[in-house]
């Protein structure tokens, strides 16, 4: 079955020439939630804006059900990170839904209002909220309105860019569950962008790890999070808080004064290590070939792909040498 959303070799440069996206390819099938994880500056949000057509791509293409997407349109809708900036403060909740509905359905006002009420119910909001302005809603309610607005346009794909990172914790899980349900019930393809691995684990079918504008690991959620293979995915997983205590290391004074691993930000290295793997400076397992040769994407198991020299042909000999 061909993918609903197919991104092929997408490339985008910042105005200063640095690569924000470097040959990104990914598939999202109907009814599937794909999580894209990575740190800020890794290109996640740029990818979202290019995929939905808000920002033109420099290279590559975006296909929706096999058709090339050339500019922003209703087939791909976005749910933004900041629920306080994504709704217009001067308009009511209903107004936000009626416009896209009117453009899509071309029905009399009463029918549109009924449809808006159905949408509100579908995202778990009371119909009485329709007349309210965004400032009278909580963060979680606003994000649900934003999801309803995306649905109103009748999309096939929804890009959710960090939809829960600015929400209070007690409302987060509800919004995540809603996204999962929309994928299941409406057969939407959802690309869920997050830096929170636990959120990804909660709802995603597949997980992609992104670093310095490239997808470095991809596979089924259980595979990527259960048996992380790229050193960066492993670093992300090891850093996520799991409730275990962080204890002071039995440290020598020298460790206290040593610069940190992340001291060199990923951005600085994206430029410096353009020749080889961009992760090389932070990589605990770097091989002699890493600074000079870019790693290719390799399939290491069924639906598990890694872009790392550790998994290339002959990597074991390199590992043995180093």
């Amino acid at each position: 079955m061909s993918a609903l959303l197919a991104v092929r070799d997408l490339g985008k440069r910042f105005s200063d020439g640095r690569r924000a996206l470097d040959g990104v390819s990914l598939d999202v099938h109907a009814g599937e939630v794909v999580a894209l994880v990575g740190e800020s500056g890794s290109g996640k949000s740029t990818l979202a804006r290019v995929v939905c057509g808000l920002v033109p791509a420099d290279e590559g293409q975006v296909l929706i059900a096999g058709q090339r997407l050339r500019r922003a349109g209703t087939r791909v809708q976005m749910v933004f990170q900041d629920p306080f900036a994504s709704l217009n403060p001067v308009h009511t909740v209903e107004h936000h839904l009626l416009r896209p509905l009117a453009r899509r359905l071309r029905q009399p006002a009463a029918a549109l209002r009924a449809e808006a009420a159905r949408l509100l119910a579908a995202v778990g909001l009371e119909a009485s909220l329709a007349a309210r302005h965004p400032h009278a809603l909580s963060g979680g309610q606003r994000q649900r309105v934003a999801i309803a607005r995306a649905l109103a346009a009748g999309p096939e794909v929804i890009l959710a860019d960090e939809p829960t990172s600015m929400l209070d914790v007690s409302t987060r899980l509800g919004v995540l569950t809603l996204l999962r349900r929309l994928a299941d019930e409406r057969r939407l393809g959802i690309l869920f962008i997050t830096h929170d691995l636990a959120s990804a684990a909660a709802i995603a079918d597949r997980v992609l790890t992104m670093y310095a504008g490239r997808v470095v690991e991809s596979g089924a959620t259980a595979t990527v999070l259960g048996a992380p293979s790229h050193p960066y995915t492993r670093l992300l997983l090891a850093s996520a808080p799991r409730g275990e205590r962080i204890l002071p290391r039995a440290s020598s004074p020298s460790s206290l004064s040593s610069p940190s691993r992340s001291a060199a930000s990923s951005r600085a290295f994206a430029a410096a290590a353009a020749a080889g793997c961009p992760f090389v400076a932070r990589c605990p397992d770097a091989l002699p070939c890493c600074p000079d040769t870019p790693p290719a994407n390799r399939t290491i198991a069924a639906d598990h792909h890694v872009r790392c020299h550790l998994y290339q042909e002959g990597a074991s000999e390199h590992a043995a040498l180093s």
Binding site: A72, M78, P241
Partner: protein
């Protein structure tokens, strides 16, 4: 929108301003019908006020009352029209350029800036020389001299609105550009447009009267400006004929006053900082009140702390008590609006002036609520320091990292410049920042680096209490982890106490020894971390603990090398 309108109407200044303006409008529209011919000489020149001529006569023997009333029509009319035109051009050019961006924006900006640097009065005089006299000339001259400022303000506002996500959402919904401007952007600028209109109307009336007074208007017309011109021309000041200029001058001043009142009222209603805080939802009381902490030798002792803001009945923090012992990491968790940051701010006496604090706050034996002025300034940072979520706003953007340390140390009378710099390098190394970055500017650092610098600055005077308010919330997990590890290490080594405030309970359980759960200003649960995780007593704590998605355990296999 409607509530703002009601708020404007409820403002006394707005009512006075509107009534005054309404009075002048009636005067300008209907007054001339009752006062007769203003231009005709009706009596002896310069006769003082009398029953025949209530405001006396001018140097040409015209009735001053008639001249003032008739003059209102043209003066206010031109003022209003110019105010509208300037605002309209400003909106079209500013919003158009800001929204279109690219070359259009560049061209419009250059034009605007050229008009802005040319002084208005000479420009008006030069343009005026090429046009036939009359009210139209004045209108054109004033509009040309005034539109640039408006356009610039509207362009800046459009640029910030265009970047908002709701505009992106409208584009994704397939809305045409004109509709995005009309429906999404302009309504958000309504108060700015209204304020600009009032401002430019004041400008138009002032500049018009000024030009005419200088004799640059149409001297045949009866306006407030020409009234003043003729009064001056007829040596009214020298002869003491005050009645020829005081009425007109008073009218100009009153109109300006009325418009300014309206502008103030509008500003107050639309400026978020001057608006009242929204009411908070219903309060849920603790089912079991936390037992009051024992009054042993605690470093920090908070007793029955209650904070409320002026104008709100509900306290933001309601009778909260807890202790922090020396060298302890104490966590406060809660969602937005729970009052957790207010407690942190109260401990350092950083609350805004309209906050009322009740209860007892003691840090290292000092009564924090009693500290004032110089004593407070010296105590803060020396005994208790703070790191906020956004270090960028905590660091001064116009001085280097090293200078921030020099300033901080100098403010507490510690050492020379050179010594402070050396100490800065030492402190930076302590938090894992390369000492060479001592000469870097804050904007050159990544978010994690800035947060480390903030931490080093907070530790510069070796405080006994460190308040951390969401110190790693804006950071990535990897950076967050590194900073937390460093923090725990430093804390174990130096023995300062930490009040760690965050909404992230799993994060808190990994660093804090005891945790307090806040909800709507109440401390609903306070327990050692293990106990809180194992057997939370309050339903809200259980809700918070269950709200976080959990990661599955990682497989033990560390590296998978192809055969």
């Amino acid at each position: 929108m409607r509530s703002r309108f009601a708020a404007i109407l409820g403002d006394r200044r707005a009512v006075v301003g509107a009534l005054l303006l309404g009075g002048f409008a009636v005067l300008a529209l209907f007054g001339p019908l009752f006062v007769g011919d203003a231009g005709a000489a009706v009596d002896v020149p310069l006769s003082p006020p009398s029953w025949r001529h209530l405001l006396g006569t001018t140097g040409q023997g015209q009735d001053v009352l008639a001249q003032t009333v008739v003059g209102a029509r043209l003066t206010l009319g031109i003022g209003l029209v110019v105010g509208l035109l300037v605002t309209l051009f400003g909106v079209i050019l500013g919003v158009g350029a800001g929204y279109a961006g690219g070359l259009i924006d560049d061209a419009a900006s250059v034009t605007t800036n050229v008009f802005l640097v040319i002084p208005g009065l000479p420009l008006a005089i030069v343009i005026g020389a090429y046009l036939p006299p009359g009210p139209v000339r004045l209108g054109i001259v004033l509009t040309l001299a005034g539109w640039a400022w408006c356009a610039r303000v509207f362009r800046a506002e459009t640029l910030s609105l265009r970047a908002k996500d709701f505009v992106a959402a409208a584009r994704l919904a397939g809305e045409p550009h004109w509709r995005i401007i009309a429906v999404e952007i302009l309504p958000n600028m309504a108060s700015l447009v209204a304020a600009s209109f009032i401002g430019t109307t004041i400008y138009a009336i002032g500049a018009q009267v000024g030009l005419e007074f200088l004799g640059l208007g149409d001297l045949g017309a009866v306006t407030w400006g020409t009234n003043l011109y003729w009064a001056s021309n007829d040596s009214a000041l020298l002869t003491g004929a005050w009645w020829t200029f005081v009425p007109t001058g008073l009218c100009v001043a009153l109109v300006g006053f009325a418009l300014t009142l309206l502008s103030f009222a509008l500003d107050e209603v639309t400026n978020p900082r001057l608006r009242r805080r929204p009411r908070r939802g219903p309060v849920v009381r603790a089912t079991s009140r936390p037992t009051p902490p024992s009054a042993t030798e605690a470093l920090v002792s908070v007793r029955e702390l209650t904070v409320r803001y002026a104008g709100s009945e509900l306290p933001v923090v309601d009778h909260v008590s807890f202790d922090i012992s020396a060298g302890e990491i104490f966590g406060l968790a809660g969602e937005s609006g729970s009052g957790k940051s207010t407690i942190g701010h109260a401990l350092l006496r950083l609350l805004p002036a309209d906050a009322e604090i009740d209860g007892e706050l003691r840090v290292a034996g000092a009564d924090v609520t009693a500290l004032e002025g110089e004593a407070l300034r010296r105590w803060r940072w020396r005994d208790a320091a703070v790191v906020f979520q956004s270090a960028m706003s905590a660091l001064n953007p116009v001085i280097t990292v090293g200078e921030q340390f020099v300033d901080t140390l100098a403010a507490h009378g510690q050492g020379s410049r050179a010594a402070a710099r050396a100490r800065a390098v030492e402190l930076l190394a302590m938090v894992g920042v390369d000492g060479r970055l001592v000469d870097a500017w804050p904007h050159q650092l990544s978010g994690g680096m800035r947060q480390r610098v903030g931490l080093a600055l907070a530790l510069a005077l070796e405080p006994r209490l460190l308040v951390l308010d969401e110190p790693t919330t804006a950071l990535d997990v990897v950076v967050q982890r590194e900073i937390l590890e460093r923090l725990v290490e430093l804390q174990a080594k130096r023995g300062f106490a930490i009040l760690f405030i965050t909404h992230d309970l799993p994060l808190l359980t990994s660093v804090a020894t005891r945790i307090g759960i806040l909800r709507d200003g109440h401390l609903v649960e306070l327990a050692p971390t293990e106990q809180l995780c194992r057997a939370p007593r309050h339903a809200y704590t259980r809700l918070l603990l269950s709200s976080f998605p959990r990661l599955p355990p990682v497989a033990a296999k560390r590296l998978q090398v192809l055969p």
